[in-house]
């Protein structure tokens, strides 16, 4: 089958090619001149292509990084999903799978025989167990127990032993261990294991299997490990004689074919289950299809983040293209004037540039796409170094490096079109010239009045479009970037209209200020747009572009004042005054031209600084919230068996009593949460409830220090907890339930229901007709313990009584490792596993830092645009100002003075661009992190990574100066006698 992206891409290229061919046939002279221009300076052509390829590189790099992340997720989804296309089960209130008669499974298998899409039905038991290796003496908790009969599980594939042999499955009394489990237990083939469940049993390790499709089922080779049993042995262990708790359905064909059949098969199974009385309460799930869909979402999320942040560099790249063409036009002004003088029409001149640009676009899009592949690999490689751990190996990450034809085609076509469109616009612009002025190299007169009339009409159109975007989205829950963009368009439109009637400086300075205020003053958004809007990464782009535009307009229309002020300072040192005056005069008196470079530098710096600040702010908040998110507890523990007397057992154990200061038991299980109007509905989550009759060191209500981001009527945390302890109709929820906010990253990222404080939710235990409606009186700021917290009486009403979750706090000075090992040993039979809450958060911080670091590197590529732009501007200046340089030399400027003039000029542009970008980058993160919505998400700190920013600025400035060094030296060495008369 031919790839549709390839077809669309080829079609677009064919259309552009045909149009170009038609133009070429109709404008042969223009084509000839264009081709001659391409050939006439190879070094220049290479420089042009380098300048033009940046946008394509960023697009290509973003797509490839996204595809790689997607491929990695898909890899682990397939590995973990195995050949289980659909699964049939019911959740038990304890959170595990509820057992049902094995006969139900046989009924399903019978019915499935009539469906061509179903290849096999495997009844299974899936549970959690703990094991003790008698040979090595090592225990291990929280292992997956996966049991099926070899005779029924052929469709799930074969196990592969570590020596490479194919195995169908363990016999009675034997187990297969996957690599992870074998490693954790130090187990070898032949070892005796004790498996713990309701009826502990002894088994023998008969094979250690690889983490392939069968051996990696559920875990994809990641922790925790798997223990594979035959079904009867598992039934004994779990006290489930004649029962199973899971049916695995394998669809016909490969994994990919199976996914394609998943909806049909799932529909058929749902219908079938309704006819099987024994299957009441069982539901059909599509784990593989859903997993792949989630992998797609994660891949495209990464792509979006990289692309949106790359957009700044893409815009900067487009500005660079305009800059390059203006430079070409300036260089060729004389010959263009002559061509026009000898009768060439302006339209032909446009085509000369268009054809030339087309040639560059073909080459630069190709080079950019390929360079993007290298960038993608570099980022993947860095990713593999930063994030490989356990089963997520560096090799697996690198193997997932994925360059799809789609990505290459999309990158090439987008990059090509971006270049061609920008080239077409630039060509039209540079071809407008006065013949006499061009030939005689005279300065251009001010633009005609009709230009402002035209701009006035553009202003009217912008105002209308802006109003259409702003007004319908001003209030409500749309993405906040929409009304902000609409408002920005209106401001610009009104400014353009005003420029027809008042002085440009006044009109556009006001527009600049208005854009800065509109996009940069976050409190204004709350007043004008309310607080119900959602937000995403795109807001950074919209606000960034608007603020940078505002700052640039302010500069362009007030540069004289700024330069005059600077010169007053510079003029005090008499020797440097003429150098400073000349150096600053060019960017000051030619602000529009300077604005191109300023824009490029400001945009790139803005992105880099914003990401750096964002990273520092996230880190500062995470560091800060480690204390608050732990709620004062060291560990969160879960057990496979209820431990109703854990506090007492700890108190009576001298070792544990000396280690643990607080031991809070929690009743826990699974719950279906129904929130009207929310998606998904119902949502399966964890339920927690703290018993009330506990001592002060075991009472959640007395020991919890969990902060809230919102409470009912502003109650204090202690008042909320007291209400929870006494009121059966209230609940607390974790941070994931907080409504989406306009801060980036606020609100639930994956599909998750949301609820306001005061909202009602209906709670139903899985497989039960019991239900309870509760009012949310507090949203916890933490999201480590996810779920709903209810009153113990309410939990009892719903049928929950098992204490299988725990919060524990160590006494000061006690080793976390030692205490954890002691507790694990003491409660091994109960399958107690302890998670150090701070460590979970620290891992999250490390991941965040890694991703932010990668993003910084990626957007840092945009610096290439800035540096190329600076080099091109300097080259252009040398050509353009040859005569002026000669005159300065004639007047007594030394070579060094000319060099200094250039460095002052470009330092000013670079530093101003860096200054604008840095200040606005800091401002946007400040806004995002200090808004009420950020506070609601638990963000209370704003941090500026000074060292990081200084490093960015020093590198950017240094590279820019490096880029202008050669042209500047060239300028200083121009012989004055030649220069004063030169008309090159």
């Amino acid at each position: 089958m031919v790839d549709s992206t390839l077809v669309v891409g080829a079609l677009i290229l064919a259309v552009v090619g045909v149009i170009a061919l038609v133009f070429a046939l109709g404008h042969r002279l223009a084509l000839r001149i264009a081709l001659r221009n391409v050939r006439r300076g190879r070094a220049r052509t290479v420089l042009l292509i380098l300048g033009l390829l940046v946008g394509t590189t960023i697009i290509s790099g973003s797509l490839i990084v996204g595809s790689t992340v997607q491929a990695l997720s898909v890899h682990y989804t397939y590995l973990g999903g195995g050949y289980v296309d659909e699964s049939i089960y019911a959740l038990s209130p304890t959170g595990g799978y509820a057992p049902f008669s094995v006969a139900a499974s046989h009924d399903v298998a019978l019915a499935a025989q009539g469906h061509p899409g179903i290849a096999g039905v495997t009844p299974m038991i899936i549970a959690t167990t703990q094991a003790y290796d008698h040979t090595t003496g090592i225990p291990e908790t929280a292992l997956n127990l996966i049991a099926s009969n070899s005779s029924e599980s052929g469709n799930l594939g074969s196990f592969m032993s570590t020596s490479g042999g194919m195995l169908s499955g363990p016999s009675a009394g034997q187990v297969f261990l996957d690599d992870q489990t074998a490693q954790a237990l130090g187990a070898s083939v032949g070892d005796s294991l004790e498996l713990y469940g309701p009826t502990p049993i002894g088994v023998t390790v008969s094979a250690i299997v690889q983490e392939n499709l069968r051996g990696g089922y559920l875990t994809a080779g990641l922790a925790p490990g798997n223990v594979f049993l035959d079904l009867p042995t598992a039934q004994t262990l779990e006290n489930l004689s004649g029962h199973v708790n899971f049916i695995a359905i394998t669809n016909a064909g490969s994994q990919q074919d199976g996914i394609a059949l998943s909806d049909t098969v799932s529909g058929y199974l749902n219908t079938t289950l309704a006819t099987i009385p024994l299957a009441a309460g069982l539901t059909v799930h599509e784990p593989l299809k859903d997993g792949i869909a989630a992998a797609d979402v994660s891949g495209s999320s990464i792509q979006t983040i990289f692309l949106v942040l790359g957009l700044f560099s893409i815009v900067a790249g487009a500005m660079l293209i305009v800059g390059i063409f203006v430079m070409l036009a300036e260089e060729r002004k004389g010959e263009m004037g002559m061509l026009r003088a000898v009768g060439m029409r302006r339209r032909e001149l446009v085509f000369v540039y268009y054809f030339e640009g087309l040639v560059y676009a073909v080459g630069s899009a190709l080079a950019g796409t390929l360079l993007g592949v290298l960038v993608g690999y570099f980022l993947t490689y860095t990713f593999s170094l930063l994030f490989s751990s356990g089963g997520l190996t560096s090799a697996a990450i690198l193997q997932s490096f994925n360059v799809s034809t789609d990505d290459l085609v999309i990158s090439y076509v987008t990059g090509f079109l971006l270049t061609v469109v920008t080239v077409a616009i630039a060509s039209s612009r540079v071809s407008r010239l006065n013949i006499v002025q061009a030939i005689r190299d005279l300065p251009s007169p001010p633009p005609p009045v009709r230009l402002y009339t035209t701009l006035g009409y553009v202003g009217v159109a912008l105002t209308i479009v802006g109003a259409l975007v702003l007004l319908p989205n001003a209030q409500g829950t749309s993405d906040i970037s929409l009304p902000i963009l609409g408002g920005g368009m209106m401001i610009l439109g009104l400014g353009l209209i005003a420029s027809r009637f008042v002085r440009n400086r006044i009109a556009f300075s006001l527009v600049g200020v208005a854009l800065l205020v509109w996009a940069g003053a976050e409190p204004l958004h709350r007043v004008v747009l309310g607080q119900a809007h959602t937000g995403g990464i795109f807001i950074v782009f919209v606000e960034g572009i608007l603020m940078v535009s505002g700052a640039l307009l302010l500069y362009v229309f007030n540069s004289n004042t700024l330069i005059a002020a600077l010169l007053r300072v510079a003029g005090r040192g008499a020797r440097g005054a003429p150098i400073a005056r000349v150096g600053l005069a060019y960017p000051g008196r030619r602000p529009a031209r300077t604005a191109i470079n300023l824009t490029i530098f400001a945009l790139v710096t803005f992105t880099m600084v914003a990401i750096a600040c964002f990273g520092a702010t996230v880190q500062a908040n995470l560091n800060n919230t480690i204390q608050s998110e732990t709620g004062g507890y060291t560990y969160f523990g879960v057990s496979t068996q209820p431990i109703p007397t854990l506090p007492e057992q700890v108190a009576n154990n001298p070792t544990l009593n000396g280690e643990y200061a607080v031991t809070v038991p929690l009743i826990s299980g699974a719950i279906q949460v129904n929130i009207t109007g929310s998606t998904p509905n119902p949502y399966t989550d964890s339920l927690y409830s703290a018993p009330g009759n506990q001592s002060s060191t075991s009472s959640f209500y007395a020991t919890s220090q969990f902060p809230f981001t919102a409470t009912w009527e502003g109650w204090s945390p202690s008042a909320v907890l007291a209400e929870l302890a006494s009121n059966r109709s209230v609940a607390l929820v974790d941070q994931n339930y907080a409504p989406a906010t306009s801060s980036v990253g606020g609100g639930p990222s994956a599909p998750h229901p949301s609820i306001e404080v005061g909202g009602l939710m209906e709670l139903t235990p899985p497989g039960s007709s019991n239900h309870l409606t509760v009012r949310v009186i507090g949203i916890l700021s933490q999201s480590v313990l996810t779920g709903v917290w209810i009153n113990p009486g309410a939990a009892e009403t719903l049928g929950y009584s098992n204490e299988t979750a725990f919060l524990l706090t160590l006494r000061s000075g006690v080793s976390t490792t030692l205490a954890s090992q002691d507790a694990k040993r003491e409660f091994f039979r109960d399958g107690l596993v302890l998670f150090e809450i701070a460590q979970i958060l620290e891992t999250s911080i490390a991941s965040t830092e890694g991703i932010i670091g990668l993003l910084e590197i990626f957007v840092g590529l945009g610096l290439g645009v800035g540096i190329a732009a600076m080099g091109i501007l300097a080259l252009r200046a040398v050509v353009e100002r040859r005569r002026e340089i000669g005159m300065l030399r004639a007047m007594g400027f030394t070579q060094r003075a000319i060099l200094k003039t250039f460095f002052i000029e470009y330092s000013f542009i670079t530093l101003l661009g860096l200054g604008i970008g840095t200040s606005l980058g800091i401002l946007i993160v400040y806004n995002l992190s200090t808004s009420p919505s950020a506070a609601a998400s638990g963000v209370s700190f704003f941090a500026i990574p000074v060292l990081n920013i200084v490093l960015i600025l020093v590198v950017a400035y240094g590279l820019a100066m490096l880029a202008i060094a050669v042209p500047s030296i060239r300028a200083s060495r121009i012989p004055p006698a030649e220069a004063v008369r030169a008309t090159e």
């Binding site: 300065p443 251009s444 003429p578 030619r590 002026e884 030399r889 004639a890 007594g892 070579q895 004063v980």
Partner: protein, 225 residues
């Protein structure tokens, strides 16, 4: 008159080498007296501009010696020669060569600033000379806002503002219409007479040459009269 400001001794300027060697100046020897206004004429390619560039110190010479005010211009290193140009010479070019990003007064005060004058003093002197040249109402105008004649007057003001020993003018009327040309010629002559300013004017224009004290005619890199 009587004291030579510029002395050229056997000045040669050779471009290229071997088969492509061109003798642009062939052993020029000349003296220009203080307060003298000398025109240099000749057909295109005869070496007029090369003469100006080499004698003013803008370009290096191949052989010989050029003394301005007794100082051997070509014996100095580049930095010294630049300083010398700033303090002792002024230039006027056909294309005015004003810095387009600076206003008229800023252009004129530039040589003073380069010579180390204070900003206020430089501004005062530049304004004064522009007033004298009839551009008092154009001080803040940028070159693009001035006519050709006005630009050339600014250029003249810039050449004269630091009271140089000599002003070198290369086709000062070349870009001007008849009226503009006449105005600039009259001005050059007036400045020469009123201030005793030594001037060397390279020109094609016989009217300009007619207003000078002396005309040096060139052909093939040599003075022929």
């Amino acid at each position: 008159m009587g004291e030579p400001v510029v002395v050229g001794e056997e000045v040669w300027k050779v471009y290229g080498a071997g088969d492509t060697e061109v003798n642009a100046l062939q052993g020029l020897t000349v003296e220009i007296q203080r307060g003298e206004m000398v025109a240099v004429m000749g057909p295109s390619g005869c070496g007029k501009t090369t003469f100006l560039n080499c004698f003013s110190g803008l370009d290096a010479i191949s052989r010989g010696r050029v003394l301005i005010g007794g100082v051997d211009v070509h014996a100095m290193p580049d930095a010294k020669r630049s300083e010398f140009r700033a303090k002792r010479t002024g230039f006027v070019f056909q294309a005015y060569n004003l810095l387009p990003v600076l206003s008229a007064v800023e252009n004129v005060e530039m040589p003073l600033l380069i010579s180390g004058s204070g900003a206020k003093d430089a501004r005062r002197q530049a304004s004064e000379i522009l007033n004298q040249l009839g551009l008092g109402d154009r001080l803040g105008h940028r070159p693009s806002e001035l006519s050709g004649g006005q630009q050339q007057r600014v250029s003249l003001a810039r050449a004269l503002v630091s009271h140089p020993a000599i002003v070198w003018a290369d086709e000062p009327t070349g870009n001007l219409d008849d009226e503009g040309s006449r105005q600039v010629t009259t001005l050059l002559r007036k400045l020469n007479r009123d201030y005793g300013q030594t001037m060397v004017v390279v020109t094609h224009d016989a009217e300009v040459a007619a207003g000078c004290d002396r005309t040096l005619k060139m052909r093939d890199g040599r003075f022929i009269s």
